[in-house]
Symmetry: C2
């Protein structure tokens, strides 16, 4: 396979490090992330001996391995997040702490490159005997952390550890060597990242080989033999190019598809694209919660059957929502279609964001769409993948905002920010300055400043929730086809001069949503969304209501009120139940940040809801 | 029955003569109405000998009666409209013309008060032998014209004719006298109007008696014996207090319900209210087109069976839409509920307004929701009730804007205007100044100026199409229950001082509408509405499309463009069909004002319309 003459071209994402976020919604969250969340996560890794396990493995301390065999990954993920935070905001103390931990990681690596502290400390003789024991999963997260820290600081220490580890994999597994179908995908996308950071093609080829290993009966380990789980649990039931339906563990599935989308850019194998398109439709059209949550079942942390989307018992792991964003970001770049960025947005403002408290120090692993009042964020988990995933997802949020297209720039997410994109050719770099009060207001102002005036296209995503909009450029209404959506974007293809302006106004009314009728859990129910934000009814602020003992009409008109003092600044919707009680809806992501109480996204719909008011 | 201690209190409508319209939407229409439509209608009445028939009957000329037996009514209706136009804008030439015609009418009245030129000229021996021959229908329109002209000019001449006619009815019909179930309702509401203008209680009592005559087998005339029509055609099948379902001729039914709503205020009979509520629900929930049109069938100019709402063959007589506004205006005042004013609005901007060309000189009798291109407005009809109904409906449009409630003022329709309402008590009069670009923009600014500062309620209708809004008073956000809808109104109950301001912002996105599934004609179809305006696809501006050979997605995002130069100034919606063709939607009321071509309100919905974009 060759990387030249690739029919799969794709767009180039603009890295978050090139996006300066000034946004009133995101800027405070990034600060809390850096000032609170990273520290909290590092502290928890310390207190739970996740960091000490490295010292043990490296022979720098004595004692017993503590915790789960995948605990290394949490340390890596916090380091990755910390590295991201450093990229936009240097911090010598934090850097010193990472360096210290990097030293422990380096020490824990065995001489042949092997690195997974559980096996080194507890069961070296059992290495590579159970494919579900996250050995490569841990390694994948190390690689992601190492690449991030290298890019943040220029320090190669962790990157060298990562390369030695990847080389160890490459020496052990591959054509003519051992088979391996890793039980929890992650390594595949990490190897592509390592290829991009180092230029070493063998890394993406190993990623491709690992993907191709799946679905051929190579899987070995306890999970494969469990009747309820089996190969589908870890996407080892069919060859990846034959995937038709989303199955099994939600995070694993999303990481797999993310890797497939990464690899296809190098492999040039359109069978992967076809598989991704099929499984995307199956995921999004039949197995997606309105919050962006996926994977309804606690049993397999994943998928069950089509349209099985219960609310109270919804699993909707935070990591799965984040991984859904990862995958859809890749799909957006691959296809240049805004519908994928719509899903990134859905996760950004709902299913992923709900995983973290406004204070930044408490987390949901599970994100139900209804609760009688017993479900609350906590400080940490035995299996703490979700806090550490948030720690790396949020500081990189700027990466979703812009992309370089084949003929210009795409604005994918609306947030007050600045970036500079190199278009090459006669135009050179183009600076984009974006100002908006999104997600509370649909008006977006852009200033486009090319280094040299010239013709190129500026694409503005037209969100899937938007039914009407106005667009002008240089104060003049944009007309003709230029004002109409093309694959989810308004495409302004014109001659741009420095300081040119675009004003986009997306109508952002409250919209009542009904599920597809196949979704049993939501029959007779409605949910409310305004712009990208899904709302819920929380007990606090609704003292007159009892859980599920009220109904709203689809035609209810809500007073839309922005409250800067409430829940970090939210727009609330105030209306009445059909019983006449006042009722306040808040953004779903912000629930469980006040007194404990019930919450519902899908509420009973008034029986006359379909009739004329 | 007594008029004191009436449990049916109701609101008081503010007459259009007290409403100064400055609106950019309505002001030009009122001018066209006065400068073009009134003249055109008078001219047609002249040319078709509708006016000459009066001279014949009065013995002032010789010849043959020409036209239908209900042609008198057209002259009366134009006079009524002309009187309305004079109320807001005096015009000596027009007044002189009316005086001339009034003289002919006076001459045509027989010595006993009888007035219906067809019978006087053609068949005096057949008077009062066929209840469907519109004798009292003609009389009702005379009364309405006479009251209007009296109120406009203070001239009693026509009013005296009207009183003599009503007295003639009263002497001929009633308890112990002859039975009468008029085949086309109109006289009943007219008699209530005459009661209000003169204070003579016998007029409303006669109206009540005429209503009570119905449904008892008194009906006599050819129509009663026709198997397909029968008593239900003219609402003579059941006593009015037992009405459950809308039936028969649409205009007749609406005039009946209008009269019932009028009479109940005097009669204090809540059985009428119950009947009206029942038949309202039956009309609106099962037999109403999205345009506000009613009565699908050409056969009986009326109703058929529930959910029978075909598009191409929709009858939807202009008069029926106007009458629906009449009725719902009364219902709004009776119940103080905004849902009725919603329907007035629906007629104002859609089903009634479509009846007249932008030029004011061409008319639809029939208002289909789809046309292959053969349906066009014309200058006049043999049966020309619709042009003359428009001539009296439009100049009085201001009457729908405001009402005096038991505790303040209701703003029912949004249009730039001023009015003064006398609240009595300590407050005295209150001046309301309203500024808005409705129906194209949902922002409404109000200035409230009481003569004396004091506490009262200002109600702002929250239209049924509105899902979200913002409201502030004196620049401060209105909070609590005051910001929430009560029977379709935001009720600002506070202490008002001169110059106080209210700012209401109704979100006005494009909304895709689906019919109830029972409506066979619209299965697999959607329509689009923005604010109160229903849109259609017209061939002009959509050269790439063929009739019914394109589909739109419910999630289509439209560019919203206001075009001052187009169709008198309209906001158009521009999007794409699922086939990728550019597509422009214009307001339904404005169709057939350019080249002949197809039109569709309900368009095919893309099959994947219910799925994620």
């Amino acid at each position: 396979m060759s990387m030249v003459e690739n029919p799969v071209k794709g767009w180039q994402g603009v890295p978050f490090s090139a996006v300066k976020i000034k946004d009133e919604f995101w800027r405070p969250r990034l600060e809390v992330l850096k000032n609170v969340t990273i520290g909290v996560c590092l502290d928890q890794c310390e207190r739970t001996n996740r960091i000490a396990n490295f010292a043990l493995a490296g022979g720098l301390a004595e004692g017993q391995y503590e915790g789960k065999y995948y605990n290394d990954s949490d340390v890596y993920k916090v380091l990755e997040g910390a590295a991201y935070a450093l990229m936009t905001d240097r911090d010598p103390a934090l850097e010193a702490e990472i360096d210290r931990i990097a030293g422990l990681i380096e020490a824990a690596q065995e001489s042949d490159g092997y690195l997974s502290t559980y096996y080194t400390v507890e069961a070296p003789e059992l290495k590579w005997t159970d494919m579900e024991k996250h050995e490569m999963y841990n390694g994948g997260h190390l690689i992601e952390a190492a690449v991030a820290y290298y890019q943040a600081t220029g320090k190669r220490r962790l990157l060298d550890v990562a390369c030695r580890l990847a080389d160890h994999y490459d020496a052990t597994f591959g054509p003519g060597k051992r088979h391996w179908a890793e039980g929890h995908e992650e390594i595949e996308l990490a190897l592509v990242k390592l290829f991009r950071a180092t230029g070493e093609e063998r890394y993406w080829r190993l990623a491709l080989w690992l993907l191709e290993e799946r679905g051929h009966g190579h899987g070995v380990g306890a999970i494969w033999d469990k009747p309820d789980w089996g190969p589908a649990y870890c996407q080892d039931d069919v060859p990846v190019r034959d995937i038709r339906e989303v199955k099994g563990h939600a995070v694993r599935a999303m990481y797999l598809y993310t890797a497939m989308a990464d690899v296809v850019l190098a492999s040039n194998d359109t069978a992967y694209l076809d598989a991704l398109d099929r499984v995307w439709a199956h995921t999004v059209e039949r197995n997606l919660y309105v919050t962006g949550g996926i994977g309804p079942s606690v049993h397999n942390e994943g998928f069950t059957h089509d349209y099985d989307l219960p609310n109270e018992s919804a699993y909707c792991e935070t990591c799965a929502a984040i991984a859904m964003a990862f995958w859809n970001h890749r799909m957006n770049l691959l296809h240049g279609d805004g519908k994928y960025a719509d899903l990134v947005e859905r996760e950004m403002y709902n299913g992923a964001l709900s995983g973290i408290s406004l204070s930044g120090d408490k987390f949901f692993y599970v994100n139900p769409l209804a609760s009688k009042g017993e479900h609350h964020r906590v400080e940490w988990f035995h299996t703490s993948c979700c806090p550490t995933n948030l720690a790396r997802f949020l500081p990189a949020i700027g990466q979703y905002a812009y992309a370089a297209t084949e003929d210009g720039i795409a604005v994918n997410q609306y947030m007050s920010s600045e970036t500079t994109v190199d278009l090459g050719g006669g135009v050179g770099t183009v600076r984009i300055a974006q100002t908006t009060a999104y997600p509370w207001d649909g008006r977006v102002a852009l200033e486009v400043t090319p280094e040299q005036a010239g013709e190129f296209a500026v694409r503005l995503r037209l969100p899937g929730w938007c039914r009407s909009y106005r667009i002008s450029a240089q104060g003049e209404r944009v007309e003709g086809a230029e004002a109409l959506a093309e694959k989810g974007y308004l495409v302004l293809r014109r001659y741009w001069t420095p300081g040119d302006t675009i004003e986009l106004e997306l109508d952002m009314p409250v919209e009542a949503i009904r599920s597809r009728p196949e979704v049993e859990a939501n029959r007779g129910r409605i949910a409310f969304q305004r712009g990208p934000v899904v709302y819920c009814v929380e007990q606090t602020g609704n003292d007159g209501l009892r859980y599920d003992a009220f109904a709203l009409a689809a035609h209810e008109a809500f007073a839309v009120e922005h409250r800067v003092e409430l829940l970090g600044g939210v727009t609330v919707l105030r209306g009445r139940t059909v019983e006449g009680a006042a009722c306040e809806l808040i953004p779903y992501y912000a629930w469980d940040n006040r007194e404990a109480g019930f919450m519902q996204v899908w509420v009973r719909e008034a029986e006359d809801g379909r009739l004329y008011r």
